[in-house]
Amino acid sequence: MSISWDERTLASSRWFHSGAGPLSITLLRRYDEWRVSTSCAQDHGIHGDEGELQDLPGTLEWQRWDCHDEDSRIRLTPALPSLPVIAKPHTSLSIAPGGNALFYIGIPMDVEIHGECGGSLRKLTSIPSETLSKTWHGDRSAGEVCYSLKTRARRHFDASDWLEHDVIVSVDLHNESQEPFEFERLFLDLGHFSIFTYENRLWANACRIRITESDEEGNDITYDSTPIIPAESGQEVASAREGKTSRSTLRRAFASVIDVIH
């Protein structure tokens, strides 16, 4: 089932159902409130995409948000996970001095639910389409918690390789140092990635990481404003959480990339 990211309306006592990968989402407008039920079970007992309240199984567990009587608009938007991600390829790859390698990494999206409350859309909740395990970035005294993602780090794009609930991030690594560079894992701070939709797939704007000899000089991550070809004409459906930037201004985040990779 593919999710529609367009805004829609929902009358009182009506529901609609959508899903992203293993995640199933049911939204209900009932009395003066929005109700959301999520499940990762394969058989959630809901038939059809929308209907009346009496068609829903009574076993659903709901979260509820207050709204006004006349509020009816609702919208789902994709989002990247709230924590940074450490992506580990199944097998490492050595990049020769002066060489570069383009990788595609699929990050399971979160689904944000926005409901109309008092005339304007308000974020109600955010639900991961797939729960990732956690990992630690740093030493045992200081660092930050991240999501861990095992990836095949594919070198070529083939639409059939990707799951519908993945946001495809292209990472172009340039080894500008004099030493071969072993790509074993990659720290990705997701705050500067926007999400675009293109041919029923979700894409993030492309990024390029330059590896140099010294961490203090020039190592950086550069963000494009659009996804890589073939999705460069994709339509933006979610803007970057920490705002758009062409170059990471955070030395910490950027240095982390290098620290972790090395």
């Binding site: 450490i86 395990s133 956690k134 990992t135 045992r140 005294s141 200081a142």
Partner: protein, 281 residues
Amino acid sequence: MPQWLQDFLATDLPWKILGAAVILIGGVLAVAILSRTALAIFGERLGPQGTMVVKKLIRYIGYAFAFILALNQMGLNLGAILGAAGVAGIAVGFAAQTSLSNIISGFFMIGERPFELGDIIEVDGIAGTVDTIGLLALTLRTFDNRSVRIPNETLVKTQLINVTRHPIRRFNLDIGVAYDENIGHVLKVMQEVAETNLQSLNEPDPLIIFTGFGDSSLNFLLGAWCVQEDYGTLRNTLPRELKERFDKENIEIPFPHMTLAAGKALSPIPVDLISDSESTD
């Protein structure tokens, strides 16, 4: 104006009282200003507990000093008072050895900063959250919401464990399986359980080791890392998931058992079978 008031005003006593009052009020203000200035300069370096102790120290010394000055203003013989205080001080010093020791220990704790307000620590087998830090003692709030006062001297003398100093922590789970099980397979299953647990961190790598041959079981240790906030959840989820997975893989967790022999080490215990008809007779 009554005569007694006229007589009173004719002496210098009113001016002395007024002077003493001004000194006391000025002293209180000066202590407040001094306290704030000192904390503004050193507060960050001292930390919350140091701040609290220094604030109290400045206040007590400042008030005592203002009080002595006020007495001096009143015309009392300060030398005699201080002399008496000195003699009394020796006597009090002997009596208050423990309190002084606690105060000095408190300074050591401030310098060392082994914990902060809100940290979870364990002292002498008592674990809890650091609630207040005083000149003489700190107060711990235990997990069942009791308040425990621990003298600073005890903190210096005994082993103190700060549970929440570092952001991540390891949960160790000892587990035994039957001697029939394949050690390699058990290690692999434990690794998979640790990897799929949502609270267990993939890095640092979980510690999974075969710890030895027990009386009734092959023993293993599973040490899974987690962030401090997830520790309680991990303690519940990891053993449950491991048990469920062992059940699925038909890996037996044995209970302690003992082999009995009838005198001769290798001879079995003789067993006589009795038929149903005989046994009911």
